[in-house]
C-alpha cells in the first residue's frame, strides 16, 4: 500500500519519537515537535509508539490512498477533508481505496499529525525514521515531502475496527469513524496567550532580577523566523549585566537560550546538540506540545514551577497516555 503525494503542503515531514543515542556525535534528536499528538495519533490506529507519523505544518498536503486504510489526525486543526466532507480529529477514521485527503485553512494550532495503520515503511537511520533536513537523514530521502512522492505503508494484521468496516460497507460513504474520540486537546491547545511552565535553568541566577521578572511576568510573541530548531520570542529583552564566558555544552528540548541581543530562543526538535548561550530556563516537558502548536504572532507567557513539580506533571502525562492506549485498545478487534 502507498500514499501518493498529490500536493506536498508547506512543510510536511515524517517524524517519530526521535533519534536518541547519537547526540554525542552531534546528531540532533529531531522527532515530532508535538510528541503528544504524534503519540495519540499512533495509539488511535493501533500502531506501536515508535512508528512515524506525518508532521503537517500550517498548510497541509493533498494525499491519495491506493488501498483501504485506517488513519488518525491529531494536533492542530488544518481542516482535513475527504470529498468535501470534514474528517474528524482525535478519532480513528476508516478510508476507502482511492480516497483523497486534503487539508485547508489552519483553524487552530500549527502542526497536525497523520498516523496510518501499519506505519510509514521507510528505513530507520540511526534507529529512527525522523526527518532531519540539514543532514538529509531519515524520512523520504532526508527531506520534506514533494509532489509525486510515494509513501509506502507497512504491513498490518487485518481489520482492527471491524465495526467501521461494516459501517463503511453499509453507508456507501467515503469514510467511517466511531462515535467516541480521544480528548486530544489535553493541556489547553487554544489558550490565548498560551502559558508554558518553566524551571530555572543553568544560568538563572546569573540574570538580574529584572530579566527574570521580565521572563515570567511579561507576554512574548512567537517570531516569524521560528522553526523546528527553535521558537524565537519577541518581547522584553532579557539581558545579562555582564557577559558570561560559557564553553559550549549540551542543551535539550525546551532549553531557553538567550543570545546577546536578548531575544530568547526555546530550543525545539531539530535543535543542535550543544550550545554556547546562557540558559535562563527550561520549559517543562509536559508543556512542550503547546509550544509546538504556536504560530508566528501567537502570545506566550511563562510560569515558574519546581523541578519536582515538572517531573510529577510529566509522570502524570505518561499515565494519561497509558490510560488513552488502554481505552482505545478496548475498541480494537481481538
Amino acid at each position: 500500500m502507498n500514499v501518493l503525494v498529490l500536493k506536498p503542503g508547506m512543510l510536511t515531514t515524517l517524524q517519530d519519537s526521535g533519534r536518541n543515542g547519537y547526540q554525542h556525535y552531534g546528531v540532533p534528536v529531531s522527532g515530532a515537535m508535538d510528541l503528544f499528538s504524534h503519540r495519540v495519533a499512533n495509539i488511535l490506529v493501533g500502531n506501536s509508539s515508535d512508528e512515524a507519523t506525518l508532521e503537517i505544518t500550517l498548510q497541509g498536503p493533498r494525499l491519495e490512498f491506493d488501498q483501504d486504510a485506517v488513519i488518525a489526525i491529531c494536533g492542530g486543526n488544518l481542516s482535513p477533508v475527504i470529498g468535501g466532507d470534514e474528517v474528524p480529529e482525535g478519532k480513528a477514521v476508516r478510508l476507502r481505496a482511492g480516497s483523497v485527503l486534503d487539508f485547508g485553512a489552519c483553524q487552530a494550532g500549527c502542526r497536525s499529525y497523520l498516523a496510518v495503520r501499519g506505519g510509514f515503511d521507510v528505513p530507520k537511520v540511526m534507529g529512527s525514521r525522523s526527518t532531519y533536513e540539514t543532514a538529509q537523514l531519515g524520512g523520504i530521502h532526508g527531506r520534506a515531502l514533494r509532489k509525486d512522492d510515494r509513501l509506502p505503508i507497512g504491513e498490518s494484521d487485518g481489520d482492527i475496527y471491524p465495526d467501521l468496516d461494516a459501517e463503511l460497507a453499509r453507508s456507501g460513504r467515503a469514510f467511517a469513524f466511531p462515535k467516541w474520540a480521544v480528548n486530544q486537546h489535553i493541556g489547553k491547545l487554544g489558550r490565548v496567550p498560551q502559558v508554558a511552565r518553566i524551571i530555572p535553568g543553568r544560568h538563572w541566577e546569573a540574570f538580574p532580577a529584572t530579566a527574570r521578572d521580565a521572563l515570567t511576568g511579561t507576554e512574548f510573541r512567537i517570531a516569524p523566523n521560528s522553526n523546528r530548531m527553535g521558537i524565537r520570542l519577541d518581547g522584553s529583552a532579557i539581558e545579562l549585566e555582564n557577559p558570561l564566558e560559557i564553553l559550549s555544552e549540551a542543551v535539550t528540548f525546551g532549553t531557553i537560550q538567550v543570545p546577546p541581543a536578548g531575544q530568547p530562543i526555546v530550543l525545539m526538535a531539530d535543535r543542535q546538540t550543544v550550545g554556547g548561550y546562557p540558559k535562563i530556563a527550561e520549559v517543562a516537558s509536559v508543556d512542550l506540545h503547546l509550544l509546538a502548536q504556536l504560530k508566528p504572532g501567537d502570545g506566550l507567557r511563562f510560569e515558574l514551577v519546581s523541578l519536582a513539580q515538572a517531573q510529577a506533571l510529566w509522570l502524570a502525562r505518561e499515565q494519561e497516555l497509558m490510560t488513552i492506549r488502554e481505552a482505545v485498545e478496548k475498541h480494537l478487534a481481538k
Binding site: 543515542g21 559550549s248 555544552e249 549540551a250 527550561e282 515538572a310 510529566w314
Partner: protein, 235 residues
C-alpha cells in the same frame, strides 16, 4: 587533583555533570572516560550521554527511571555513587585517528590568506597544522563536526565576519584556536586551509562518525594526486 564533579539540573529530562570550568586536556580525558564508562553500562532510562568541554550531560526518561522521591533524585543517587568511585579510575588513552589532508591544492581557499596574516608561507602553515596531535573536545554543530583543541598559537586565526553560505564537506578549517573538518556541506565561518577525502559522517554505518570526544587526531599531508585517488575522482 581535579575538583569533585557538580550535578546540575537541565530541565526535567536531563542533567549536567560539571567536572571543571576551563578548557583542560586532563579534564577532557576524565570526561571522555566517564562517558565511555557510562555508555558501556548505562543506567536504565538514560537515553543520551553527551560530553562537552567541561561537562557531561545525561538525557533521561523520567518514566523509566521512575519515582524515588523524584526521578531526578533517583538518578543522581545512582550517578553520585558511581562518580565517586570513578574519580580514581584510570584514564583510557583515546584512539589515535589519522586524517589525510591536501593543504591548499585549490581546495583550501583561505590557506594563502591565513599564511599572509601570520607572515608565514602556505607550506609553513600546513607543516605547523600537521605537526600537532589534536584532542577531540566536543562533537556538535552538525553531525560529526569534531572541535579539535590545542591549535599551535602561530596559526590561530579568527573566524570570518561573514560566514560562507556553502562550505564543502571534507573542508579542513581553523576557527580561532580550534581546528576541525566540516562533515557536511553547510554554511560556515571557519577559515578553509585544505580538504580531506575521508568521510567524517556516514549515517548508515555504526558508529556513524569517524571521531568521538576523547580521540586524538593527527593530520597527514597528501598531494592533490593522492587526494583525487582517495576520493575516487581518478588521476
Amino acid at each position: 587533583m581535579l575538583p569533585n564533579p557538580r550535578l546540575i539540573t537541565m530541565g526535567d529530562r536531563a542533567l549536567v555533570i560539571e567536572f571543571g570550568d576551563r578548557l583542560d586536556p586532563q579534564l577532557s580525558a576524565r570526561i571522555a572516560a566517564a562517558a565511555q564508562h557510562l555508555r558501556a553500562s548505562p543506567p536504565p532510562g538514560v537515553l543520551d550521554i553527551v560530553p562537552a568541554y567541561t561537562t557531561l550531560a545525561l538525557h533521561y526518561d523520567p518514566a523509566v527511571i521512575g519515582a524515588g522521591t523524584t526521578p531526578y533524585e533517583a538518578l543522581i543517587e545512582q550517578i553520585g555513587a558511581w562518580l565517586h568511585e570513578q574519580a580514581d579510575a584510570n584514564l583510557l588513552p583515546g584512539r589515535l585517528v589519522e586524517i589525510p589532508v591536501c593543504y591548499g591544492c585549490g581546495l583550501g581557499e583561505d590557506l594563502e590568506d591565513v599564511a599572509r596574516q601570520h607572515g608565514l608561507t602556505p607550506e609553513e602553515v600546513a607543516t605547523i597544522h600537521a605537526s600537532t596531535d589534536y584532542r577531540v573536545y566536543l562533537v556538535g554543530f552538525v553531525p560529526g563536526f569534531a572541535y579539535l583543541g590545542n591549535l599551535d598559537s602561530r596559526i590561530v586565526t579568527p573566524r570570518s565576519d561573514t560566514p560562507r553560505p556553502h562550505v564543502p564537506a571534507g573542508s579542513v578549517a581553523i576557527g580561532g584556536d580550534q581546528t576541525g573538518v566540516y562533515p557536511l556541506d553547510t554554511p560556515g565561518g571557519w577559515r578553509l586551509i585544505g580538504r580531506t577525502p575521508v568521510k567524517m559522517f556516514t549515517p548508515e554505518s555504526e558508529p556513524p562518525c569517524l571521531l568521538g570526544a576523547g580521540d586524538t587526531v593527527r593530520f597527514v599531508p597528501i598531494s592533490r594526486a593522492e587526494f583525487d585517488a582517495l576520493s575516487g575522482n581518478g588521476a
